[in-house]
Amino acid sequence: MPELDPLIHAPARLQVVTTLSAVSEAEFATLRAALEVSDSVLSKHISALADAGYVRSRKGVQAGRRTTWIALTSTGRKALREHVAALRQLIDVVD
């Protein structure tokens, strides 16, 4: 039976990993715009997720300026899958 993942149980973290699942890699600014959060809030979540191995980030250049690219790792993808399954199970139990 899948269990809720405490690291991505917070709605903001779940949004970060869910959004990243739509792409192979996203620029920090693109991700921030999609999530409608501030730089500092997103940085904090990315750091926590990177520490757990759920995302990885790398420095790059986009249109001549330095940027950070973020990607969901296979560990993060698996964690998201299991967490979503646990949430759906919770919904199904009540329905």
């Binding site: 709605p11 959004t19 699942s21 739509a22 192979s24 919770l90 009540v94």
Partner: protein, 186 residues
């Protein structure tokens, strides 16, 4: 204190909905470069036409023409994928695979069918049929990419994955080596 399961269920539903909305917001904001589909159709047309000519010619000049066609296709694919990444601030490996490998029944059928007909026509010296088959293959390939794009927009998580840029580059090199080997052996 034990939490209310109904409240948990509502929270779970709400969390999933908000997360899905964020993902859809990102996918909905992505745009294909306007030149991508016409450029892809033209590049595949050139590649199919030159490959058919090269295979039928069985000469060093034919091989050079076929390789030039591959180079045009790979160059076009690399430029359009770079434009997509620069425009949108994201990389989608599924799109790269769709463009470079023609994954999917329509793209594969369009490409293989066009190459088969064009090659036969080149052996029979029917230049007009080589051109017609190449154009149909190019348009079909671009149409398949457009269909993939619509599918991706509907369900981005299911279609985002694909071969990585490194794997695609390795396959491109292998394709060139294979083509050279085929013509040299022939």
């Amino acid at each position: 204190m034990e939490s209310n399961p109904l409240q948990n269920s509502d929270e779970a539903r709400s969390e999933l909905a908000v997360a899905d909305q964020a993902r859809q917001r990102l996918a909905a904001g992505l745009r294909l470069p306007t030149s991508l589909l016409p450029a892809l159709a033209a590049a595949v047309t050139i590649q199919v036409g030159t490959a058919a000519y090269g295979i039928a010619a069985q000469t060093v000049a034919g091989l050079a023409v076929a390789l030039a066609g591959v180079a045009v296709f790979l160059g076009t694919a690399a430029i359009t994928l770079h434009q997509f990444r620069r425009m949108n601030g994201v990389r989608v490996d599924g799109l790269g695979s769709q463009i470079l490998l023609g994954t999917g029944t329509i793209a594969t059928s369009a490409y293989v069918g066009a190459l088969g007909v064009a090659t036969w026509a080149a052996f029979e010296s029917h230049s007009w049929l080589v051109a017609a088959a190449a154009v149909i293959g190019g348009v079909g390939y671009a149409f398949a990419t457009l269909r993939w794009w619509h599918a991706y927009r509907r369900d981005p998580a299911a279609h985002a994955g694909g071969a990585s840029p490194q794997v695609l580059a390795a396959l491109a090199v292998l394709a060139c080596v294979g083509l050279v080997a085929l013509v040299v052996a022939g």
